[in-house]
């Protein structure tokens, strides 16, 4: 007996089984690790720069600003003009070759940063195109995150909205088995409406958002129609009602 037939069938099944969700998952993983690498490299570079020009390095603790200012030149003279601080420094004087090495590294860091931005843009486009309702409710970044955590849009569809609410807060959820209270929100904490809501209403707003997420993902996967306007209108109405009832 030959296994060719089995291989053929299995190959076909895999081809059918892979979907846009897999691409989304991989892209998120890629973007995450890019960001991680970016941060590590930035920390080390900032540390290195501290040796040469500590006065400037202390002012450039933010990654994006660091890249922007050091991109053209790392020398004290040009940096001091940009930041408006005196060029005399108590740091260690570096040779030209080491300075070259430094600017090469900053350029490389800037490249990684650009790449991550491109990946994220592409990810957002894919998500808005394939999940119009869900991305309207959650915004593209959180949509991607939620699909990543659920595994696929279909398994997100099968989840109750209470589980969607705490997606990404698994650690707190497990802690709740033993002592603490259950978490109120997971990744949807970064949602615009959540940020705007007052602290004491955050749990309730999270509940409403996750309920509409559940609705939106069902619309996306099962009917494939764009009803985002209607869903958003209803959701905002619910949240306003909640705010009114609680006197804000």
């Amino acid at each position: 007996m030959d296994n060719k037939e089995f291989i053929e069938r299995a190959r076909k099944k895999i081809k059918e089984g892979l979907s846009i969700d897999d691409l989304i998952r991989k892209l998120i993983g890629f973007s995450d690790s890019l960001e991680k690498g970016e941060n590590t490299v930035f920390e080390q570079l900032n540390d290195l720069y501290f040796l040469y020009y500590p006065e400037a390095a202390n002012k450039l603790k933010e990654r994006d600003k660091f890249i922007e200012i050091l991109k053209e030149s790392c020398e004290r003279n040009s940096i001091s003009k940009k930041l408006g601080i005196p060029p005399e420094s108590m740091g260690f004087d570096l040779d030209d070759e080491e300075l070259q090495l430094l600017s090469l590294s900053v350029n490389e860091l800037s490249n990684i940063s650009d790449l991550r931005r491109i990946v994220n843009d592409r990810l957002n486009t894919i998500i808005i195109k394939s999940y119009p309702n869900l991305s309207a409710v959650l915004g593209p970044e959180i949509t991607a995150r939620v699909i990543y955590l659920a595994g696929s849009s279909y398994s997100l569809l099968l989840m109750p909205s209470s589980k969607i609410q705490v997606l990404g807060a698994e650690k707190a959820m497990f802690a709740a088995r033993k002592k603490k209270a259950t978490p109120k929100y997971g990744v949807i904490y970064n949602h615009n409406l959540m940020v705007a809501a007052p602290d004491r209403l955050k749990g309730k707003v999270a509940k409403i958002i996750s309920a509409y997420t559940s609705l939106a993902v069902k619309t996306d996967v099962l009917s494939k129609e764009d009803k985002s306007g209607k869903i958003m209108e209803k959701m905002l109405k619910d949240i306003n009602k909640l705010k009114k009832a609680n006197g804000t």
Partner: protein
């Protein structure tokens, strides 16, 4: 180096430390980065206990099981085919191992392996629904399951009913952590064994610590 036979096609390689090896049924390529030994013209592949629960059972004192050449094996939860490649070694070119795996990305490696090893029959399907592959899989001489699901005992019973010949062996890897995290692992194994008692004789239960954490291998005979 010296070979000590465990059973057909499985050996201990005695050196400073003992190493479990299987006699390769196909060429001597490394499948997942394991070591290859070439002893007097025959090729042996190392069977790493940290990667394979079946190998860990041998390290923990299993010294024989009813699996031999030209057997038909149904393997549930084949993953990327690490253990499957060794099972395919043991049953030889005339045997057949039907490897079921549901996750597409894992199954890709399995299919690539099956293209090299003609005795592996890959099936991309859910082991919860044995009806789906009922037509393509014959009655088997050994059922091996390693699926790490909450309802893995039910999956095992279902598949054993349909595919395992009576009087033959089933090997069942229990991952206690995927059944319930809050209960004592020994308690879980006891409960699972209770469920299996109706249809199977329990031959042996092996705890795989330290090679695999929170895992037990249960060897059963179908009544």
């Amino acid at each position: 180096m010296e070979l000590k036979k465990v059973m057909d096609r499985i050996y201990w390689l005695l050196d400073k430390r003992r190493t479990l090896v299987t006699l390769s049924a196909y060429n001597g390529d490394s499948v997942y980065g394991e070591k290859i030994f070439n002893l007097s013209g025959k090729i042996y592949r190392e069977w790493v206990p940290y990667r394979s629960k079946f190998a860990a059972a041998f390290y923990k004192g299993l010294n024989g099981i009813d699996i031999k050449e030209s057997y038909k094996v149904l393997y549930l939860g084949a993953s990327s085919g690490t253990t499957v490649s060794h099972v395919s070694d043991i049953i030889g070119v005339n045997g057949q191992v039907y490897a079921v795996e549901v996750a597409e990305e894992m199954a890709v490696n399995l299919i690539l392996l099956a293209e090299e090893r003609k005795n592996i029959f890959p099936i991309v399907d859910d082991a919860r629904k044995p009806e789906n592959y009922l037509k393509s899989v014959p009655k088997c001489d050994l059922l091996y399951q390693d699926v790490a699901q909450r309802d893995q005992t039910e999956i095992f019973i279902k598949n054993a009913d349909l595919f395992l010949k009576s009087g033959k062996i089933g090997v069942f890897a229990v991952k206690t952590r995927s059944i319930d995290v809050s209960v004592d692992p020994r308690e879980i194994v006891r409960n699972e064994v209770k469920k299996l008692r109706e249809k199977f004789d329990i031959i042996r239960e092996i705890n795989l610590y330290p090679y695999q954490k929170d895992h037990s291998l249960i060897i059963l005979r179908k009544k």
